[in-house]
């Protein structure tokens, strides 16, 4: 029992340290990218594609962070964007749908390729699926006005 608690404390402390470092790095980097207008520039490049998923411009960056780095970090970005009013409820649903299926794409893909999985298949299928599911989720949400 004591062991269990110590193990839990140790692993959660380690994880929180890791998360804190990552989050601080991502958040500070984001501020730099914002102030240097790089995010605006990135948005003009990516938005022509992501707008077909039904998301607004402010949702682009959280989507990319979640897709590349992971759910935890993506959720942090979504939380910030929503607080700043850059995302609405539907954006949250759509971005979450996308990253629920495809996230931490770099780390996850490499992890399984170490066990012999086909890198291109696991990367491609997951990304394609995320796009397709989010596309249709948007169609459904718009039709039934489930999330507004």
């Amino acid at each position: 029992m004591m062991n269990f608690i110590i193990e839990y404390l140790e692993s959660s402390l380690k994880l929180m340290v890791k998360i804190s470092i990552y989050i601080s790095a991502v958040m500070v980097l984001t501020e730099f990218l914002k102030n240097l207008k790089i995010i605006d520039w990135l948005n003009t490049k990516i938005y022509p594609f992501t707008k077909h998923l039904g998301i607004s411009e402010g949702a682009n960056f959280p989507l990319i962070i979640g897709y590349l780095i992971g759910v935890t970090y993506g959720s942090g970005m979504i939380y910030q964007s929503y607080k700043n009013g850059e995302m609405n409820k539907k954006d949250i649903y759509l971005v979450c749908t996308f990253i629920a299926i495809a996230h931490a794409i770099i780390e996850d893909t490499l992890l399984f390729s170490a066990f012999g999985a086909n890198l291109i298949i696991i990367f491609g299928v997951r990304t394609l699926l995320a796009i397709v599911v989010t596309y249709f989720a948007n169609k459904v949400f718009t039709k039934i006005k489930a999330v507004d």
Binding site: L15, E31, T97, G116, I121
Partner: protein, 139 residues
């Protein structure tokens, strides 16, 4: 500009870390208990026959269950004891990567205001459908 970015970035990270800690810490505790009591072993036997649907060895049911209830690392650990070919790993990887850590990640999404049943069912259903399609093609 540099100062402003640093200050704003740190300010944002503080509230974000707090937001994440409030979800992760209690949920990790529950997941840890599930791991400790070998929760998934209780019904991995029942799911074993279903794995033939994906042309997979019955033992991989345990891999998928551990991945979904605990995390990807717990799932991967089973590769040590289960014999799987690299094509089988590809199918398992796809299913696992689409649908894993449902408890931890589910509560993160829930905290953002997304319905838990929506997000879990989307992941589980697409993992099953896509896993089946890929297994038919490559196995």
């Amino acid at each position: 500009m540099i100062r402003k970015s640093l200050v704003d970035g740190m300010k944002n990270s503080f509230s974000t870390i707090l937001f994440i800690a409030k979800i992760i810490l209690p949920v990790m505790f529950v997941v840890k208990i599930l791991e400790e009591i070998n929760f998934v072993y209780w019904f991995s036997n029942t799911l074993e026959p279903l794995m033939s649907l994906f042309s997979l060895n019955g033992d991989t049911a345990l891999t998928l269950l551990l991945g979904n209830f605990i995390n990807i690392y717990a799932a991967i650990a089973t590769f040590e004891t289960i014999n799987v070919t690299t094509t089988e790993v590809t199918v398992i990887a796809i299913m696992l990567l689409i649908s894993h850590s449902q408890i931890t990640e589910g509560f993160v999404f829930k905290k953002l205001g997304v319905s838990l049943s929506y997000i879990i069912s989307i992941r589980v259903v697409s993992a099953i459908v896509v896993g089946w399609i890929v297994s038919v093609i490559i196995l």
